[in-house]
Structure formats: C-alpha cells, structure tokens
C-alpha cells in the first residue's frame, strides 16, 4: 500500500510542479506533408543546439492551423505547419482569439505526383484533362454535360491503357487536396470545355467552378484521409490503382511505384524548381510572434529551419525531396526581422 501512496503523491507533486514551470520546448503541429521535413529539422535542432528537441505533431494543415488559432499562451502551439497558405477566414479566427502577429515562413516547394504500381498497366503520361475525365463528377461527353460514364482510361484517351479507373486522392482535410483541385481538376475542367458548357447551361461562373471540383462518388475515386502510406497500401492491393503522392514519398518508394509525367513533364526537383512541372505548391510554417521570447528557442528554430545548411539546395531537406526555394535569402531576412503577415502588403 505504501508504494502506491508514494506514487500518487508523486503524481500530485508532478501536477503542482507543472503549474509553475514554463514550457521549454517548441511545440509544432500541422500538415503531414511538412511533418517529415519538420522532424528532420527538429532532430538536427536538438542535436546541434542546447535547446530541447521541438515536439512535432501531425494531423493535417487545417487541424494544425485551427490549433494555432486557438489563442496565445503556453498551452497552445507555437508553430503550425501547412502545405497551403493560411486562409483569410483562418486569419480572422486567429485575430478573434488574440493571435494577431503571425510570421509566415515559406520553406520550399513540393511536387505532387501521380504514381501507380511498378508492375501495373502503363500509366506513364497524364494531362489534367485525363484526370478530370476519369474522376470528375460531371464531364462533357458528345457536347452534353453528363454524370461521369467512364469506366476505363482508354474510353476518353486512346493512348492510355484499357484499365479500370481507380484513383486514390487525398481527402479534404489535406492541404494537398486543394492543390490537386486547383492545378489538376479545375484546369482539366476548363480544357475539356466542361466548364464552358456548364456556364452556357446557365450556371454562374462560381457555381461552375465548384461543380468542376466535384469528384464522382461511385467508388472509382477514393478519398484517402490518412497518410501516403495508406495510399501506397491501397495501390499495392490494386493493380489498376493510381495514387496521388508527394514527390519525396515517391522517391523513397521507387521500388514499388512508377511515376507518370504530367502534361509531358517528368516530376523531379529540377522541373519543379523551374516551374515546368505544373502540379506543385509551396510549403509553409506559421510562427506566433507573441511566443518569441517566451518559449525558448522558438525564433532559433525558425531560423534554423530555413538556414542554407538545412533548407538550401544541398541540405538534408532537399536530399529528402523538398524543392528548395530560390528566394530563401528573402525569407531568412524576414524571419530575422520578425516581419509579420500583412505588415507591408
């Protein structure tokens, strides 16, 4: 019995000790795309400085930004990782909760690739049109807007294999979904003429745009809410499956996956950096300025992250698959000056 009493006494002591002691590690949460890079940086930060290793949680861009905007204080996170820019609505929520000064840090770019089983059908070249015809909810067929009738890729593009359509796309909580919609579905919708046909059919432009982003719900396109490993597992089990991945994930799994070109361009760090490869997006993290100086190591972490040694073209992040930002020097200066969003825009 006495052992148990000691243990409970310790637990109580721990509770009271917490109330007094300040948090001494940086707390990060957000995008699962940025997580790998953040964990590389966090490990190096812990190994190379006297600060404790930051805690990096996953959960998706939206959930990270939501937690970021919960308020200022030790029990809120300091940094939100995001694979898309913060939305105005989120900035407003932040402001409501007292998070007014936000530093936006762009760490580099990430390519989104379309890959299939190494031994599967020859999915080697796609265009946005193909993807839209395959998984759009309503497509243009014989001059008419109809519910997507396509079952196989060769039905709308003779160059593609006669294989059943099975796409695994990122779920709506992922920042990747937004890029996928904007740079693939919307463009495909415009290029096939479906969008024009919808507008001609009496839809407003905004409604037509929304309709373009609708994905068919008959099981040919599956939303993956988990990580890329889940997409990989689904493709492993489905010979015809095509998955949407980040470039880094694909490069780590070249033995299982083969990648398709998009509009004729092969996704590589070089083609993404030059802007040639069309489906890429910037990656960000957001820092709460109010926490700088309160949470030890916060500013140092931000500066460490975007230093040339880490985020530069020869750093470990680029080696893992991040496309480094040509304007890194500008971002470094911005973080050094702690310049907040909307300061001089």
């Amino acid at each position: 019995m006495s052992v148990k009493i000691t243990v409970s006494a310790l637990a109580i002591a721990a509770v009271s000790a917490t109330a007094a002691a300040a948090r001494d590690n940086v707390q990060v949460a957000g995008s699962s795309t940025v997580l790998p890079y953040a964990s590389i940086v966090a490990e190096a930060f812990g190994d190379n400085t006297d600060f404790p290793t930051p805690v990096v949680e996953s959960g998706g861009s939206s959930s990270g930004l939501k937690r970021f905007c919960e308020g200022v204080g030790e029990n809120t996170i300091d940094v939100a990782n995001a694979s898309r820019a913060i939305r105005e609505k989120e900035v407003a929520t932040c402001a409501e909760n007292g998070v007014t000064d936000i530093i936006e840090v762009r760490i580099g770019y990430d390519g989104i690739v379309f890959a299939s089983q190494q031994s599967g059908p020859a999915f080697t070249a796609f265009t946005p049109t193909d993807i839209f015809n395959a998984i759009g909810a309503k497509v243009l067929k014989d001059g008419q807007i109809v519910d997507n009738p396509h079952n196989s890729w060769s039905e709308f593009n003779a160059d593609l294999p006669d294989a059943e359509i099975a796409m695994f796309i990122p779920g709506t909580k992922h920042g990747t979904r937004e890029v996928f919609e904007e740079k693939v579905l919307l463009i495909g919708c415009e290029e096939t003429g479906a969008m024009q046909a919808m507008i001609d059919g009496g839809m407003s432009e905004d409604d037509a745009e929304d309709a373009c982003l609708d994905v068919r719900q008959d099981g040919k396109s599956v939303d993956i809410d988990g990580d890329y490993t889940e997409t990989l597992a689904r493709i492993d089990a489905n010979n015809n499956g095509i998955g949407v991945f980040g470039l880094a994930f694909y490069e780590n799994n070249t033995d299982k996956l083969k990648v398709a070109t998009m509009s004729g361009v092969e996704p590589t760090t070089a083609s993404i950096a030059s802007g040639e490869y069309p489906v890429s997006r910037p990656l960000f993290f957001y820092v709460k300025k109010a926490h700088i100086g309160v949470i030890p190591g916060l500013k140092e972490y931000a500066q460490f992250f975007i230093s040339d040694d880490l985020a530069g073209p020869n750093g470990p992040l680029a080696n893992y698959g991040l496309v480094s930002d040509p304007e890194l020097a500008k971002t470094q200066q911005m973080v050094a000056d702690e310049k907040v969003m909307g300061a001089d825009m």
Binding site: K4, V7, S8, L10, A11, A13, A14, V15, A17, T18, A19, A21, R23, N25, Q27, A29, S32, L35, P36, A38, S39, I40, V41, A42, E43, A44, G46, D47, N48, P52, T53, V55, V56, E57, S58, G59, E74, N75, I77, G226, D227, Y228, T229, A248, F249, E251, N252, N253, T254, D255, F304, S307, D309, L310, P316, N319, Y320
Partner: protein, 440 residues
Amino acid sequence: MTDASMDSAPVQGSLTTVDARTRKRNAAEKRFKAYGLVAIMIGLFFLVVLAVSILRSGIPAFTQAEVRVEFTLTQEQFDEAESQMLKTKAYENLFIAALQSQLEERGLEVSFDPAAIERLLGKTGSTIREHFRENPNQIGTPVFFNLAASSRVDGYFKGRVTRDTLVDSRFLEVSDLDLVDALADAGIIVSAFNWNFITGSDSGVDNPGGAGIGVSVIGSFFMMLVVLALSLPIGVATSIYLEEFAPQNWFTDLIEVNISNLAAVPSIVFGILGLAVFIQFMHLPQSAPLVGGLVLTLMTLPTIIISTRASLKAVPPSIREAALGVGASKMQTVFHHVLPLAAPGILTGTIIGLAQALGETAPLLLIGMVGFIARAYPEGVVSGFIDPNSAMPAQIYTWAARADAGFYEKAWGGIIILLIFLLTMNIIAIILRRRFERRW
C-alpha cells in the same frame, strides 16, 4: 409438458443396445463437438498467421547494418566543427574523409568517391559529436566507432533492397552495392544486433537506422504509473462502497448503469475529454505522460470497477456473516476478510485493464502524444511525468506512416516489443490468479 409425456412412450429394448433416438442424440453431440473444434482451429489458424507475419516483418528490425571504423579527431577539427551552425554535418564530413582515406590505404578494388561513401552511411554526425563532447580526453586518440549504415544499405543486407529494385533510386546507386560488397568482405560493414532499437529514441524521417523505441517505452511506463496510482484506489474504493455499503436505491442504480455504459465508450471520446478538461481547462502540459495517464485512467476505471465488484461478489456471504457474528464491524469485515479474499481477482482485473490501456493510441492522438516526440530520456521522475513523450503504440503508429521502408520494418519490430509487454502482463495476471485464487 404435453409434448414430453407424448414422447415418453414406453421404453423398448435394453440399456445396453443403442436405439435410433439415442444414436441421433449422440450424433448431434458429436457434430456439436466437431463445430467447436473447427471454430478453435480457425481461431488458431488466424493466430498463427498473425504471429508469423508479425515475426517475419518485425524480426529484421532487431538487426542493423553497421559500419565499424577507427576514427581520430584532432583538437583543431573539433574546434572547427563546433564553431559551425550545423555541427553534426561537419563531423559527418570529417568522418567520411577519414573513412575514404582508410579505404584508399587498404587498396579496395572498386572505385568510389566521397558521395558514394556518404550514401552508405546513415546519420553519423550526432553520435560522433555526442561521443567527443562526453569524452573530450579522447580527442586526438583513435576511437573505434560502430555507426549505422544508411537505410538502403541496411535493406540490402536484409534482402529488402536488391540490385533490381534500386533502378530509380537516388538514395543509393547500383554501383554503390559493389562497394558495399567489398566493405562487407573486408569486415567494415557488418550486420549486428540493433541495441539502439530497444534503448534508443525516435529519429528524423531520413534516419531510420537511428530510431529506437526505448524512450517511448519510458513514456508508456510513466503513463501506466499514473493509471495504476489513480485507477486502482479509486476503482477499488468505488466497488467496495457500491458492493458492501451503498443502499439499494435509484441513485446507486443510476451509477451502476453509468459505469457499465462507460466501459463501452470508445476511447477516442476520452481523448477529447482529456483535451478539453486537462489541457484546455486545467492547463496541464501537452504531450505529457501525466495527461496521457489521466485520460487512460478514465478509460480503465470502469474495467477495474466491474472486475472488482465481480470478485467481491464471489466472496461467499457466509464469510461476512461469520465475521459479523463474532462481533466485527462492517468495515472490519470488509478489510479483514472480504478484501483479502477478493484481492487476486482485483489484481487480475487491474492488470488486464492496464494491458488494455498500454495498447491504446486513439486518445493519445488528441492530447499531442503522437508525432515526432520521443527524443530524450526524462531527467528525473517529475520530468518523466511532465516532459513531452510518446507511448509505444503511438510510436508504432508514427513509424508506420513514414515513407522509408526502414521505418515500416521498425513499426513491426515495435509491435513485437509491445506484444512482449502485453504477454508478460497477462501471464502475471494468470499466475496471480492461479496462485491466490480461493475456491469455495
């Protein structure tokens, strides 16, 4: 009744010869036994499949390809490396240069360049830096290092990476494998038992060779301490009160119904509750085993209460009556006679409740214990409770989501370790029950 009387026609024949009806009943019994046997066989089959697949995927995590090299660091090199921002990288470069010159001295018959050596090595910098910072007296003298090889080289030793699958990889080239073969022949790269996997901490996504589960085992340990320290006394006190002292009325009925319902509540609900109450309202630290333990306590309490009440009920009333009869008070009866007899059952229930809590991930997701967290061993008991840490199942989940196949293997290895803990706990529960259980 009428059916029975109609069926019980006068019995013909003798007891020694089996008539048709008896044969039918016997056949039905045999069939039933066969169904049972088949059910057990199916269950066993799946158990074997599960065990084999876990072992097959997980065993490789316990070995690691290592590079064994002697390395001398001069004082100037040490000062130079320490003056840089990315110190670990500086050490890594020094090590690569040293390894290259050693290989050249040995006169290996394959051509190689520093980039190839870099591709063979895992992240070596932090190990080297740690070593020389802790043992500054060894600067200038040759030190023997065992450093993890890169994930692809490790995979080559385990058969995960072959020359065929390496075609498109930019992390290791096919020509590098010739160098690996040569180094393996020379005894510089060897496959060894991976102690770091058992004792080490989590590592960055580009460093599967450095990842270990040790720190998250400690995280789980502190969580279980909290669960034990809170749920056992509270659970037992609740059960004793409800079972022995509480009047039978609508209020206690309501409590009973609620406890049974709580036992069936999905664990994620407790996670949300924990986030709202312990972190947002009480301002306890995020990612702390203390909060994890509190959340899991809520989850474990109903299990412990239900099993404790069952074992209290199993103590025969004659014991209570005898105690009361010789003049013991109600409390003396409970603490001197009923509780000791119920103790084995209570302990079993507690251990099973703890084992359940040990394997739980869902509630930890919401209180920040899943991610890149388990980095450093706590410095003391208090820091063990409040410093950010992960837990075993959370660590496994994190590894399973990483891109490098080396981490996938680690996830399976982690499952083996978690299962060993669970099995041990359950075996202890069984032994306790066998040893101390009284039958009446």
